[in-house]
Symmetry: C2
Subunit: 325 residues, 2 copies
């Protein structure tokens, strides 16, 4: 059994989900991989907030030097969110020889080259499966099992909040404002839902997918993005009559070597695999020139599903370190 | 650019699809990975059969020693099918220090321990993504991105022929025999459809999934298996009235530490993600204790989709060899 020690930066919902996932499945992971995975440090100011897990108080630190300067820590999991200090911390971790795992779609979409270059220069691995599609292993598939393909089409339902709202509007024939209010009361939408309902969250994810599928960079601000705030019950009804359903779709393909892409409400025929993706579920539909149509479906958010993807990345790195693959 | 040379054993439909996929995307693969992937040898007796690809005649051999004895060949792709000589050839290739990729579900299901042990003893990699779900990257996901999970449920539609027949029976209200005949005429079902329609093909795939998801071996002959030959139009109609659709389902879960599994026609509620998987498409629905529900969808057969999975495995091995990950 080989021990691999990690640090988590930021102990909010996703950090807690990751910790909880490891606590629950530590032994199963050890049995499958021969690796004893341990959280040695957690960077967090708010130590006393009630959480469903209780790491020993000595694990917490408010000083990144305790993480970057600790030669025992092999992998740093960045879950602070936002562009800064997250990006600087990730690059500093790489400079200190740490492999980095993150779920931070905004930081990757904004600083893709910078982060990839830093990983390369410092000979460390950089993984971010959790940044797109939560627990659904899409990025790993694109970069590995489906790598032999040229990708022809990327279509995604990549935001659970908006898919929940659109599903409820479709099934209940209710107006946007009413459903949003209910979603907020139930905790499915944030008090300030802007990033979700205006499509910005999805645009970040699409920018990352474009980098991986097409090897081209399209910045978030260059992706034509429309949210769901203008979708009316009448439009949904009209789509229904045509055998279609309105979904917030992230779309990208190559045309004459250039990326055409957008985020916005689209009418999806009921016969399309994405049409059946309801409520908080996400899915990514990919067309490859060899494999044809594929679709990946699951929970695109939430502490445990996202934690599943983060732990998958951490374990993959741990196996590389230990030469166990 | 690093060159990695491979050999293909068996140049039927899947071998040709793999070769064709590589021919089409050789440069894209090289650009993405830095690897120049080459087919150095093809083991095949029938050299003159018309095929959509035309390897140089000097590539063909009828002698496995030309492959196992060639130090330039790093990866052997076994596509002979059947238990023997395929199993012996795979083990001999491993003994000769070759990494092995196969699509041979029957050989893996029958000789799982033997093949895994041989790979371990000879310090080579053994990959078989194409053996379950064709081009859909399910095995890679189970062993990597989803590895942090304990799997709670495995439900699959894993045979395109039977799913096509059941879909046509459901949509057209037609009897089994009539649809089978049409499927045979269109090339969707083989002249002797036994392995497909009796569920044996699916049972092989389920045996492999059980090994990977639960770390337990259930031999094909120990999986209760019922095919679709007894499914009547009346049963399908009755299911429809209850908001259900009849699918040939491979099912496995743990109960008190033991595997409960079966292959057979099941009624699937229309609200279940598997209900919308129609015609020749396949899908695997997995429930993990962290990630929750996931589903992987795509073409479960066919030369190119299967070739996509084989090439994914080959590239993964090539990157390991060259230390490029």
């Amino acid at each position: 059994m080989k021990t691999v020690k990690i640090a988590i930066m930021g102990f909010g919902n996703i950090g807690v989900g990751t910790y909880q996932g490891l606590e629950t499945n530590h032994d199963a992971i050890a049995e499958k991989t021969g690796i004893d995975l341990r959280v040695k440090r957690i960077l967090e100011i708010d130590v006393d907030r009630p959480r469903p897990v209780n790491p020993d108080k000595s694990v917490y630190t408010q000083n990144v030097a305790d993480i970057f300067g600790d030669p025992e820590i092999a992998v740093v999991v960045e879950l602070l969110g936002g562009l800064e200090p997250a990006t600087t911390f990730m690059i500093d971790a790489m400079k200190a020889g740490k492999h980095v795992v993150t779920a931070n779609k905004a930081a990757i979409a904004a600083n893709y080259e910078k982060l990839m270059d830093a990983a390369k220069e410092n000979h460390v691995l950089f993984r971010f499966e959790a940044s797109v599609g939560g627990g659904i292993p899409v990025l790993t598939a694109i970069q590995n099992a489906l790598l032999a393909n040229r990708f022809e089409e990327v279509l995604g339902i990549l935001n659970g909040t908006t898919n929940f709202i659109l599903t409820q509007m479709t099934e209940g024939g209710r107006p946007y404002a009413e459903v949003l209010k209910e979603a907020q009361e139930k905790g499915f939408a944030e008090a300030d839902p802007t990033a979700d309902v205006e499509g910005y969250d999805v645009a970040n994810k699409l920018s990352i997918l474009i980098s991986l599928c097409f090897g081209k960079r399209v910045k978030v601000e260059d992706i034509p993005t429309v949210g769901i705030t203008g979708v009316t019950a009448a439009e949904i009804e009209d789509a229904k009559k045509n055998g279609e359903v309105i979904k917030l779709i992230a779309s990208a393909h190559l045309k004459d070597g250039a990326v055409e892409c957008s985020v916005g409400p689209q009418r999806v025929p009921l016969s399309h695999p994405l049409a059946g993706v309801s409520n908080e579920f996400n899915a990514l539909y990919l067309k490859g020139n060899i494999v044809g149509e594929t679709m990946f479906y699951g929970k695109g958010a939430g502490p445990l599903p996202t934690g599943s993807a983060i732990l998958g990345d951490v374990i993959d790195i741990a196996r590389h370190i230990e030469g166990l693959r």
